[in-house]
Symmetry: D2
Subunit: 383 residues, 4 copies
């Protein structure tokens, strides 16, 4: 099942690490560590293999993929020998990475994105193309009445003023072109009523939001632990220090607010109440793609006794995100093949801010994922 993976932000660290990893796994140079679908319990013939993924994408940057890969190697984000070994293969992918189109209206931009997707699909004889947004986080968009209605949206996109933030425009273009869309960032993506209507009308699924790669992943197992033990969490404060392009972007107050809210949601959803404390994101350029998070949790036990827990997480953002991007491409392709439409709530396991009213405890999210994979298999077989 030949599957295209079209990455918005194709020249960024997460995208290029995903490509290097897929190429290295295919060539037998690396293990698929961190790829959730490699677990025996999730094995399914409905899923395309890592070696069946074909990469392309859009980016506003023009730094060559090979050069970016070498930089990732020097920074210790991927092994330098792997970055070197896949240079030729990246040169091939380079043919399918295009600048983000510039046009007079958003309707025309969408048209142009759609043409790029069609070309990619035809050129590689792909069964389908999954579009995944891994570009940097947008500020929260201004509300617009056309967000709520597909016809109004179509009309508004023809006008001179931008109606949709870039991530939603990409989702619109993807869905129009018959491609499922997944947002790995906290940006808007397909999360608007008009786009939900479009997806359903097109018989397409979409997924998101905000890949769960570090601090929130830990929260999604610790918060249920306190809940199951009936311990009362009084405060939960988090600090995230991160460098890299996303760090600089998230230090902007508007993006920061969006991301921080998404990071605290798991607490309310799993505890049933919101403890005191906030989640902070600070930019420390020197940390580069490595991220250090520190959380302090104070809680109350039997007869009110006060106790506390702290944790520090020191992770490499791209190394944590990239295998999940491969998982999401494969899962979304299988969901599409199985005829799923609308929000892929079964992918909550992967996201900080999942679509739908879904469990936020990691163990429950994993079971939902396992059941969904099993169902894809059945549906695909039936066809």
């Amino acid at each position: 099942m030949s599957t295209g993976v079209w990455l918005i932000g194709a020249r960024g660290s997460v995208a290029v690490t995903s490509m290097i990893g897929a190429l290295a796994v295919r060539a037998g140079l690396a293990e698929p560590t961190g790829c959730v679908l490699e677990s025996p319990e999730l094995h399914s013939d409905a899923l395309p293999g890592i070696d069946e993924l074909v990469f392309g994408g859009h980016d506003i940057s023009s730094i060559p993929l090979g050069k970016k890969a070498a930089a990732l190697g020097e920074a210790g984000i991927v092994p330098a020998r792997l970055a070197a070994a896949v240079q030729d293969a990246l040169l091939e992918i380079e043919q399918d990475v295009r600048p983000l189109p510039v046009r007079d209206t958003q309707a025309e931009i969408a048209e142009s994105i759609g043409a790029d997707l069609d070309g990619f699909r035809r050129r590689h004889l792909l069964d389908r193309v999954v579009v995944i947004n891994v570009s940097t986080t947008e500020p929260a968009p201004r509300p617009h009445p056309a967000h709520a209605d597909l016809d109004a949206l179509r009309a508004a996109l023809d006008g001179p003023d931008p109606v949709l933030p870039p991530s939603a425009l990409a989702a619109y273009a993807a869905l129009r072109a018959g491609c499922p869309y997944v947002d790995f960032t906290p940006s808007t993506g397909a999360r608007l009523p008009a786009l939900d209507a479009l997806a359903r009308g097109q018989g397409l699924p979409y997924g998101g939001h905000d890949g769960k790669t570090g601090e929130t992943l830990v929260k999604s197992v610790l918060a249920p632990m306190f809940a199951l033990r009936n311990l009362k969490v009084r405060t939960w404060s988090g600090t995230n220090l991160l460098g890299g392009g996303d760090g600089a972007n998230l230090a902007e107050p508007a993006a920061n607010a969006a991301k921080s809210a998404s990071k605290q949601r798991v607490l309310h959803e799993t505890l049933g109440y919101t403890p005191q404390g906030d989640t902070r994101i600070d930019f420390v350029e020197d940390l580069d793609d490595f991220k250090t998070a520190w959380d302090l949790i104070t809680f109350e036990g039997f007869l009110g006794t006060r106790m506390r827990m702290e944790f520090t997480w020191h992770g490499c953002d791209s190394a944590l995100a990239a295998p999940l991007v491969l998982d999401l491409a494969r899962l979304t392709a299988a969901a599409h093949a199985a005829g799923r439409t609308g929000p892929l709530t079964e992918l909550a396991f992967f996201f900080k801010d999942p679509l739908g009213q879904v469990p936020h405890a990691l163990a429950e999210q994993w079971k939902a994922l396992r059941d969904a994979v099993a169902a894809f298999d059945v549906r695909n077989t039936r066809r």
Copy 2:
């Protein structure tokens, strides 16, 4: 359903905190924070209420319960006002706390323990008595051929030499007297083939081992997190600093080894392999009943990138253990009423070193517990 709770180690911190807590909750002076059975999902008419528990027990110490309670209040382990408020009620319990009997043979000691249990049951017209060991950890016992065979054991107990460690002797006596037995410590308890045979013969259930109150609790959610995400844990090293009576005892190499092994088991069981690193227990008297654990976890992500996590847990051992003791008394009473016999594998949620081949991931253990509670209900209703 009037239920006796006979505590081995009845004058220790965990036992007295359990009593204070049960009395305070009954009197409306405290919330049952930390009591797992108070979760709505675990509600069941098959479970005796906290206010239906009647306390008694054995101890080698003779410090009055009221005095111990006051000391716990001064040390900040329970609120001083609660320790004061329950003095009268503790004086009543005092009538049912006896010195551990001293006799010539272990058979005679068991006889004497049984008589104490009978007297307790009759005096309070109890439906049943659950015996729970909360005394300090024993060194690992010497193997003895009689451990494997009930008849051989009976014969050996009549001899002059001790055959069973104290916890197993208590289990033997309890089971002979028709009482279910639970071991909250890493000691042997009922975990011998001869005693398993006795329990089954008597139609009695038993449970254990080693209450999961701190570092291992956290491990039981973090290790599955790494497993579900297919991240490779390379090392997991833990240090436990604890004061209090149990700390001094566990600093003894023999007891330490038993406890440390029990603390690493969760890693092998949930990861499927054993990472490098050990769990240490160090005695620091000044920390008293507060325990600080620090764990370092190093792991490998996509393409071999090295990452790390640390956590510190600063908990009050008695405040964490006591509500679980109340839960275990209620659950074991309900299991007995429902006709369960042999090892209560469904109580794995509570233990570091659970009986049977059971899941070690906390979320799965919780589901097993929930299902068991639901089943108790049905069975009790049927009768």
Copy 3:
């Protein structure tokens, strides 16, 4: 040498803990732990004893000292038995705690403050009164031309608009009334050219700023360690979580900025350069007077190898500040007696943001303090 200690913010946690402590030490109920002057190397007959300190002060709050003391006891900031033992003595101090005067002009307010100070001195036949600001942090004040010139300031204070922030007005009033002034907060205090001129004209010393009680104290020994070992600090990021009145106040962006700047100054001064990273202050009400700070330091060793250090500081702000307030009262009184005028740069040991161009490494600050104490002794003896 009978010495008055007039506290601005006399009903706050720091002030009342200082009073309870001085009373308890005097009564033999507590050790002077945390009082720097109790070190044998700093012994000097030039210093008034803790038992020679007489307390009074201003506050906008009207909560009785005894009630505040009881609350501190309940919150575990001071032992409840000490809070109870000093109730009578606090009732006496109550006579000398006044509401902050309200008048039409700042000149009149200063006049009124001066009258309160005179009354206090006469009533208790004090050799001198040291005024110490322990109230909550002010926002950074607006610049005003009169801050630079004493005559202009005198004229401006007669006008209808406020010219000085409250701390500087208190300093002005104190100096006019012949009292040395110390600012334990990051607020302006006497740190204006016009007030420096006033202090010198009056032959009075003044001190500050911002008591060094936690994270910055640790920085003042760790930063020199990196410098002495010629290790290159690349980033230093700090997070301070604090509750209590000061926490709420410092969460305001303006006050936060002032405090954070004062907290990073030690890095530039001891390292000779400013590493990346910021110091954050977050308000978490539930933590009350206990403050948790976490710092991440990344550094570079031989041949560029990257390494890192983290620390967590969990301190009780009032318990750390109060003994320093007693030290500062005694030192400033001795400095005054010894004829010192102008900024007391020798008190840098106590402050995050010390006056003058002074060393920021704790060990050097301590030597400057020791030398100053020795010099007070000589000067006092000579008189």
Copy 4:
């Protein structure tokens, strides 16, 4: 001033990192980060330059220096490009690295070591040779009466049984050959009365023990901080996790005990009392040359309020030790040139377990070092 540096353990990580570093600094490829003597305050013409150091040594291993350097580069302990750049220069040093001699008596071994040292000195026309022990830690040696008396020692060394542990035999041989000796490990080295007599008789200085590279370095600034602030440290517990050759060795109980004692000494010396708690060393092979230490400190402030501090140190042992080895070679050479004999107590700044009754606070040790460097200059000039 051409200075030989003869390293015992010349093929180990610390030795080879020292060589790579000296060569790289000399070639302008790296900065001397971590070299204490590069501080302007310690500049002295009495010190040989890094480019005047000539390397040789003994080792029981036969792994080529170039191969070891490449391995250090792969493990990220030194930059791979530097390990590559110095291959030719290491090949030259290779000529001066010999197997540790094997002979019938220790006297003969010492003779043979001396011959190696003489050959090295002559071959390179060196002004002097400093012998530095950087081999793995020995178990504590058995006492022997000959340790106390030089004549008895000489006689005993002729016997068939070993009298001295290897480090002391190396010291004996070095001193006999007219070479100053420094021990960077916790082993015995020159720390025996008989060897002290030998050093003084030969007019030679010696130094040690146990390079202060991580946790103890931090202790040597934090413990004085608590002391200067008159805060009472109640407990101080440390855990050291380390891999590498030294880690495996230190995990042996005998070596571990020696090292741990040396690590706690700083507390007693700077606080004036010994808090509760121990320092543990655990071997975790996977950590390789990176070492993680975690310390918990609980302390008491004003009126007995309990507080706590934790720190984690994540350092690369060789990257921290190597620049100190260069410093010690240069300092000891200058001390020798200046006519210093006996224990070099002024080098306490570098050691966990320094010789003599010296200050253990880092700031004071630095002043002693600075004064000593200044004195070397004067003495050298006079000659």
